[in-house]
Each structure stands twice: as C-alpha cells, then as structure tokens.
C-alpha cells in the first residue's frame, strides 16, 4: 500500500484539517467529537445533517454548505460515526425547526444515528437511503444499501430546507427521492483501507465485481471482465428491473449520475455515460439532468456506479437550485 500519509492514526484529522483550511470560506471543523459545519450558521430552517464512514469523499463533508448540508459527521474510514458526533453537530447547527438526519442504510450507521436520535432533545427525523439495487431487498435482511443516490437526496433536501420548509416536508422529499432512485456499482479493483494496509479483496485481471458496495463489500457476483458496453448494459438492466419491481415508470425525465469510485479516470466515466445514456434513452427514458465524476467514492477503488433518479418538477427545481459546497457548486 502506497498512500500519502504520516501516521495512519492521524490521517483523518490531518485530512479534515486540510479540508477545512482549503474551504475556510465555507466550512469549519470541530474535533472530539468530530463534525464539519457551515461557516455561517443558517437560521430558521430545518438543520440537515448527514454522516458516515470516511473514505467516500467528497461525501459527506464536501456537501456541507449553502443549499445542501448544515453539518456532516465523518467516522473513521468505512466506519459509521458515533452518536456523540451527531449530538454535537445537531447541537451546533439546529435552528429550532428540527433536525433531519440523512443516513445511508448500513447496520452501523443506522444504529449509531438511532442512538443519537434517542438522546436528541429536539424534534428530529431520519431519511434512510437505500438506492443500491445490487442488494435484493427482503424482509429477512437489513435491506438495501445507501449509495450514490444519497448525493441526490442531500442536494434536493438541502435545497428544500433552504426555503424554510418544515421537517416533515423535508423528510417526505428525501423519502420520495430515495424511492425514485436506483443505483448499481461495479469494481475493477479493490479499495485499500489505509489502516488495513492491503486490498479488501483479491480480484484478477480478468474479473469484475458486479454490484460492489462502496466499502468494497462483495456484490451480486464475480463476473468475467468484458467490454464497457456489455458491463454497462447489465447495470442499466439491473436498474430498469429495479424500477419495474418498485412499480415505477420506465420512461420520463431522469437524472443520470455516473459516479467514479476513486481511481477510474473521467475519460472512462464519460465513456460509461455515453453507453448508459444511449441505452436508457432506447428504453424510453429522457435524460434531463446529468452528473459525471467522483461524488461518492470507495477510497482508491477502480470502478464506477450508475444512478438513475426519476424526476418530477419538484425534484428538478431542487436539483437546479443554487448550491455552494466543496463538492458541488452551481448557481452561485
């Protein structure tokens, strides 16, 4: 493992300090307990707080700022943050209109946020994201994982909160977008957790991991490496099947997000976009919004995920509204 690091135990603090310095106009960071919040505390709005294991940058700290999150709680690499972080963040940013937690659906994240919520002295609600259609939902499992759709939820709910909407409306929008969104990822290589110092999984040059999670969790199945067109067609089909299973329309305006997992160059992401856009258009979707880049990563994994979100005017408006964060910025 070769990484820019001084001491594995200090990596997160040093990186977050650098982040907060580089974006000193936007955010500030607190340690012990650790959270990142807006430089300008917002008034008269629902406080939107997210968090999760580190290693997915720019998610979540990179989405703190005007039009998106009020605070983010970064955990250790691939490890959910702890309740004291969420409590401290909520205490710092809440503005008497309640707190909405946006939580990716993983046992650890859910339990830690749950414990924080139980201790929280103000009104609160939680949106659980679970857009990963690689994992089959069933009453017997923990349920689907939250992946790149989380970025869309954070953007749009952040926008709605900015209008002064109440907690219930913010939660409702988040839940709606989560329902309208499906994602699937594929890994060409494993990620390496710095503290582990070796790749999470072994994979040969002729294999891919279809349906991989953003922590390098094994996916649906190990498959043979094939052309981008064939891989992307499988991913598009998985998403379309998921839409069908959710009884969602497989036509109409969509947001197409092609997300890099860390080590895959933009040239390849745009190539994937090209195929995905063609296939989705053939299926009857109309691509109304696009996003291509590294928005939720798995440290240094080579791979990508596709996310499709069905758009209505409401979601479109909140997607388009101004946002000013380290990781997403437009309209201002």
């Amino acid at each position: 493992m070769k990484k820019f690091v001084n001491n594995i135990d200090h990596m997160l603090v040093e990186s977050l300090t650098g982040f907060a310095t580089a974006h000193g106009d936007l955010v500030e960071v607190q340690f012990d307990p650790t959270f990142v919040s807006r430089k300008q505390k917002s008034q008269q709005k629902v406080a939107i707080i997210s968090g999760g294991g580190s290693g997915h940058e720019p998610l979540h700290a990179g989405y703190v700022g005007k039009g998106m999150l009020d605070a983010a709680c970064p955990g250790q690499v691939f490890t959910s943050p702890t309740p004291d972080q969420m409590l401290a963040a909520a205490e710092a940013v809440h503005a008497d209109k309640g707190v909405l937690f946006i939580v990716k659906n993983y046992a650890g994240d859910v339990m830690n946020f749950e414990m924080a919520a139980e201790m929280l002295p103000f009104e609160h609600a939680t949106v659980l994201t679970s857009d990963d259609c690689a994992v089959v939902n069933s009453t017997y499992t923990t349920g689907r994982r939250g992946v790149a759709g989380t970025v869309i939820v954070e953007k749009c709910v952040g926008s709605l909160a900015e209008t002064g909407a109440d907690l219930a409306s913010c939660k409702a929008l988040g839940d709606k977008i989560n329902l309208l969104t499906s994602s699937i990822g594929v890994a060409l290589t494993s990620c390496t957790v710095p503290a582990a110092g070796r790749p999470t999984f072994d994979i040969s040059d002729s294999e891919i991991e279809m349906g991989v999670g953003i922590h390098g969790e094994p996916g649906r199945r190990r498959e043979a490496m094939r052309t981008a067109d064939v891989i992307v067609a499988d991913m598009v089909n998985a998403i379309v099947h998921d839409f069908e299973a959710k009884q969602l329309p497989t036509q109409g305006d969509i947001l197409l997000l092609v997300n890099g997992l860390g080590a895959t160059p933009l040239m390849e992401l745009y190539l994937i976009y090209n195929t995905a856009a063609k296939l989705l258009t053939e299926k009857g979707f109309s691509i109304a919004r696009s996003l291509v880049g590294n928005y939720i990563t798995a440290i240094d994994m080579a791979g990508a995920s596709l996310t499709v979100c069905l758009l209505d005017n409401d979601i479109k408006q909140h997607w388009d509204s101004p946002v000013h964060t380290a990781g997403l910025r437009w309209g201002c």
């Binding site: 691939f78 490890t79 309740p83 004291d84 650890g108 922590h215 094994p218």
Partner: protein, 210 residues
C-alpha cells in the same frame, strides 16, 4: 468481579484481540468491509486507556463507563452493539449489591438481550449473537446449577467456539454480509470471532486463577 478485575480483563482482551489481528481482519475483509479489527483495536485501547479512572469506580459504574466509551470510540455496527451490552450489564448489576456468579450470568444475559434489541437480530443470522446467545444461555444455566467458575469457564470456551463455527454455513441476514446471499456461506462472521476471542480470554483467566 471488581473494577481492578475489569481492568485486568480489559488488558488481557486487548492483548488477545491484537494477537488475532490477522484472522479478525481477514474475516471482515472477506464478507464485510475490512474494518472490524481496527474497530476492535480502537475500542480495546480506549478502554485500557481508562484504567486509572475505572479503578476508582464500582463494577457497575465501570461497566457503564466502558459502554459509553465504546459508544463514542468504535462506531460501525459493533460500536453501538458492544456499548449496549456493557451499559445494559451495568444497569442489571446496579440492582444487586453482591456479585455472585449467577448475578454476573444474568447481567451477561441482559447485555446480550440489549444487543439483540439494538441490532434487531436473533440467533442464526450470522452475527456475534451466534456466539453470545448460546454462551449467555449456558452461562445462566450452569450458574443456576451452582457449577464452579472453572467448570463454567471450561464449558463456555467450547460453546463459544462452537457458536463461532456455526456461523460458517449460515446465510447472513443481518449486517453488511446480508447482501451477499449464498456468497457468505463458508466464511465465519468477524464479530462472532471477536466475541469468541474475548470470551476465551476471560475464561482462560478464570481457569488460570490459583
């Protein structure tokens, strides 16, 4: 069990976890996300770092302190689960002023129930509970029968090992491995392994007491 015993156990558990780095890490890499060993290590070191403070507390308070500390240190799935375990154990012990083996067994059982509640999980879901539930059940039963600490320890070692081994052929229906379906089969659960190591360590300490 007083707080100096707790410190003694905590140090031994830390050493045992560190000694099992390779297996624990490997298991969570195979069907999880590879951080379970690091999470355990961070938790163990936080607790041994509390030794001075813990030594001034009652057992019940020490266990609660440990739970709180784990809650703010470990994170992930195992953090809130272990925290719930210790905080619940503490609460149960608080209700009694002597500390018999049976009382410890009942507190242990309460701890395991807190994990089940927090994790919404049962036995047979390929988690730490597949070690903890049979151990709790046997512990209480053997204590009720009035067996000696040494006999109980010897028995629990085997039960923990068997519990761990039982996770190998299970489908995972909780935790990160639950998305894997058939692919989880053939692998032991990482959290079950940590629990087996910790139980084994404490039982060995009891067995080696003069």
């Amino acid at each position: 069990m007083n707080s100096s015993a707790i410190n003694h156990y905590a140090a031994a558990i830390r050493d045992a976890i560190l000694a099992h780095e390779a297996d624990i890490e490997c298991l969570d890499r195979e069907i999880g996300d590879g951080d379970h060993y690091i999470n355990m290590k961070r938790g163990c070191e936080a607790i041994t770092g509390l030794a001075d403070e813990l030594s001034t507390l009652s057992s019940a308070d020490a266990l609660n302190k440990i739970g709180m500390k784990l809650l703010s240190t470990i994170g992930g799935a195992s953090g809130p689960l272990f925290a719930s375990f210790f905080m619940s154990m503490s609460k149960t012990l608080k209700t009694s002023d002597t500390m018999t083996t049976l009382q410890i067994a009942l507190a242990f059982e309460a701890g395991v129930q807190a994990i089940m509640q927090r994790g919404k999980a049962q036995a047979g879901e390929k988690t730490m509970l597949d070690v903890l539930i049979p151990v709790a059940t046997a512990f209480k039963q053997l204590a009720e029968q009035g067996q000696s600490s040494k006999d109980i320890s010897a028995a629990l070692k085997t039960i923990a090992s068997d519990g761990l081994e039982s996770t190998r052929n299970m489908l995972a229906t909780k935790g990160r491995a639950s998305g894997l379906g058939e692919r989880a089969i053939g692998h032991l659960d990482a959290g079950a392994k940590s629990c087996q190591v910790m139980i084994d360590t404490i039982c060995d300490l009891v067995l080696s007491k003069q």
